[in-house]
Amino acid sequence: MTKPGAFRVDGAGVNRNRPLRFRFDGRPLTGYAGDSLASALLANGVRTVGRSFKFHRPRGVYACGIEEPNALLQLGTGARAIPSARATVVELTEGLEAFSQSGWPSVQTDAGRMLDFTAPLWAAGFYNKTFIWPNWHTYEGLVRRMAGLGRAPVEPDPDRYEIRNLHCDVLVIGGGAAGLREASAASEAGGRVVLVEQASELGGRSAWDGSAIEGTPGSKWAKLLTERLERAPDVRILRRTTAVGYYDRDVVALLESVPVHEGPDGSGPMQRKRHLSTPRERYWIVRANRVVLATGAIEQPLIFCNNDRPGIVLAGAAHQYLRCYAVAVGRRVLVATNNDSAYATACGLKEAGVDVLAIADSRHEVPREQADEMRRQSIPVLPGSIPVDTSGFSALSGVSVGRLSRDSTSVDSVQHFRCDALAISGGWCPALHLYSQAGGKLVYREQSRALEPVATHPIITLAGSVAGERDDARTSAQSKAPAQHPSSAQPMGIRISPVGSTLRQWVDLRHDVTVSDLELAIRENYASVEHVKRYTTVGMSVDQGKTSNVAAIEIIARLRRMKPSDLGHTTLRPPYTPVTLGAIVGRGTGERFSPSRLLPMHSWHVAHGALFEDYGEWRRPVAYLRGSESRHAGIVREARAVRGAAGLFDGSPLGKIEVHGPDALEFLDHFYINNLATLKPGRARYGLMLRESGVIFDDGTIVMLAPDRYLITTTSGNAGRVAAWLEEWHQCEWPQLRVAIMPVTDQWATVSLAGPRAREILSKLATDIDLSGAAFPHLGMREGRLLGEPARIYRVSFTGELTYEINVPAGCGQSLWDAILDAGTPVGLQPLGIEALLLMRLEKGFLHVGSDTDGTTVPDDVGWGKVASAKSADFIGKRSLYLPENARSDRLQLVGLAGEGGADIVVGSHLRLAGSNEVTDGWVTSAGRAVLSAEPIALAVLRAGRRQIGAQVSVHDAGKVTRARVVNPPFFDPSGDRMNA
């Protein structure tokens, strides 16, 4: 085991006076304030941080930024655990607990390693071809555990997230030198500027790579510009913020990680409770007039055999670990490149006292200035050379470098190096992800071996290395070698070793895709780059191929014997980096996601044992349970109380809409299948409302309050939809009609008093309304005073009993409720939940829109065909009733079922008629047991059902078969005497 901190070298970047303790897979380690988790692991000589996806090969830290494909770790435990965190961008904090997520039993001794020796079996399409018997789900758990996808916490997320909107003139994405310059220029021009940087400090590479800008050391220049921007009035700087998506109409989404300020005892975020008002992350939705992408470039690898061993890192990353964290990636380092940029890495490591064995350059001609500099540093240069293989078991121990033939298609000789690190550079690809998401087109250019932008964009400006710019203002100051640049005037050398087994040449480290997988896909006739991607999964993991897509394009093009520029590229989709789901949801969780609506008498229901359930958006009492009574027993007791004496029901969600205006009647007549022309004041009429397709939309009553004032009721769940429906037709189709539509559901408490003793009970309350059956018959409506308050009382019944549906101003609901209970309890009145009500309406065979109807039900299917056809005026949906489909004689029709043999009838059961050849002849839409006899009863839709009255059907419920007889509802009081009493 390596000595702690053994790879730390002299240099700046971390605060050596502030050591931080952390754990990796339980092992205690120490880093410094300023470290990333990855730099702290490297400093401690931790080589293997994970296992590869398919073959379980050991993998080490590979990059230094968001593009990291290997060091994806599980952070913390419990509710705040974070899966697949990129160690390269996690700031080290005191007490941080990190776990490798792909080793079993552990990352060091991994049982799955044997898979590596069966590699040829795991070719592209392996999952699709292999795990097909009996089905994928048999294997899914095992495969997922072996693959190491991290574990999402199962507890609710205790943190808070915020969504915020931001408007500005210029949004600058990327706070490196180019971004700082663009933000400064925009600020000086007087615009509102937002500058976004994913790191905790601005400056980007210029802050550490030793270059000079405008004659000033880069770090000092960045600091000056930062200070100036911080003082500017209209500039907002968002640090630790990544632009994750570029959406339609130039909306840019940013994800800001809000730092946790550590307590005075230095306790880290894992121990400390986050202050309630501080979100963990902010999701910014930005609308800018102009977007500047200064997103830099991402270094690409070289591809050769066994190019995945821990110790092989990108050269730019090796340089950055050295300068920003004072960490050397190894003690004996070989550098391999196809461009100029890695020379700075070689110089830097050499100056830090690291043994730099040589620099292999796949270009046959090495530029003079680089060659001279290497000579000064005594670093041997191997021109026309590329690594062809590596050795090592758990980590890198040696590299074989091949001397390329003149045409770079073969290797003439091989030289071996013993080393513990290999820094590779295959050139830089501009980070054009947002540009591509914005609809910008990319093309592969031979010169840079990278995808570059083709056209200009009306909103987006590219600045800095993302534009392929070589910044002449920047020259090397500290180090003699030139600063790293994404692209260079000199053509790049080859990126892919021409020799060696392609089974061992990894293209996508994250998804364990090798060159041989791409070969197989081409052999199996996949041609398009999008299809090859899906078949091999190259570039499809969480890193989205940031270090593999370009190499994949080159390889596929080579295999198809075409130019990479003709191949095209895969679509770059948001998000650019993974986004916490909580950040997208923001504060819209729990009650804020879907607020419950509460009844006017809610607290009374709570205090009296109501069992609540959600009905649509309303929390409603199912039943008021007594003692240890079951749900079912409570429902039956309440229903029997209504049939025997009386019940009291809070029906306030009943939809109530007033329609006023001289044309109100004409307007409403468009909506109902019923003829409204004969409506009289003080009378309620039941009506059905259709969609234009003829399908039943809603039902309820229509009451004329006055010739220019109407009150309609709707089902509870449709109250909002019906009001919107009326508005839409009024505004869009009949704007000339003089009406106003006012939803008043919430303004009224609706209390239903039902049962044979309802009149007796209500008569005990002071009212100016004559309640006698002669003066106030069924389907009457009276306005008056009840207990001194304005009241509207309907005689409508959903239970089949004598019912007064009493509407009073919502604030008066509770006192009315109390008064009725006081008056009625002595004669057997009980409060009544919604399920007993629904059971009694089933007995009466009353339609429940949404239960007994679906998206195909027209009026005739439920017995209202004659009413619809009798109305001469046009109404919404009328014409559709005459379409052939709606006039068929074998449509499903609503009927009653009487169960035989005593077994329950279950909603959803399918029905078969004797001798039927159909798969199904219908199904059960509502079911229960009669309140008094407890016989099983149901409503069902049955093929040509009204012609089947008296027939027997078999009832099929998940394999159980029972029998029932088709009957005409209702099941209770067919004469309606009780209701009309």
Binding site: D169, R290, A724, E728
Partner: protein, 135 residues
């Protein structure tokens, strides 16, 4: 300021008139353009608002046939809609605002809203718009 044509409103002048969101450059260089209607819709009654305040209502200028039409004509009205790549005339409701329905011409490729106009107003003639079925 140029007055928009009588029968319909061009989005941006309307926006500037009703809501001072649009920022014009103080500098003569003209670096800053008026803010675009990025996923925002200009309600003819309220001005520019975020799209989340609106409800989409499908194609506009669909004429409801009389009861006497043939089954085929009625079915065409019920089920068949234009689905152009390009300019689409459609109706929206400012559902979480004034509640009013209005028409918009939207480019289905870029989602740019090229014009908003009142219910009952005729289709504005826009450059590049495919000629749809007569309303």
């Amino acid at each position: 300021m140029r007055e928009p044509p009588r029968e319909w409103h061009i989005d941006e002048p309307q926006a500037r008139r009703t809501q001072p969101i649009a920022v014009l450059a103080a500098s003569a260089a003209g670096v800053f353009q008026p803010i675009k209607n990025m996923l925002r819709i200009s309600c003819p009654h309220c001005g520019i608002r975020d799209e989340v305040e609106f409800a989409f209502g499908g194609p506009s200028h669909v004429t409801r046939p009389a009861f006497e039409v043939s089954d085929a004509e009625w079915a065409d009205y019920l089920f068949n809609r234009e689905n152009p790549k390009g300019i689409h005339y459609e109706r929206w409701q400012h559902a979480y605002g004034c509640g009013r329905w209005f028409n918009a011409a939207r480019d289905t490729v870029t989602h740019e809203i090229l014009a908003v106009y009142r219910m009952g107003d005729p289709k504005p003639v826009l450059p590049g718009a495919p000629r749809g079925r007569a309303p």
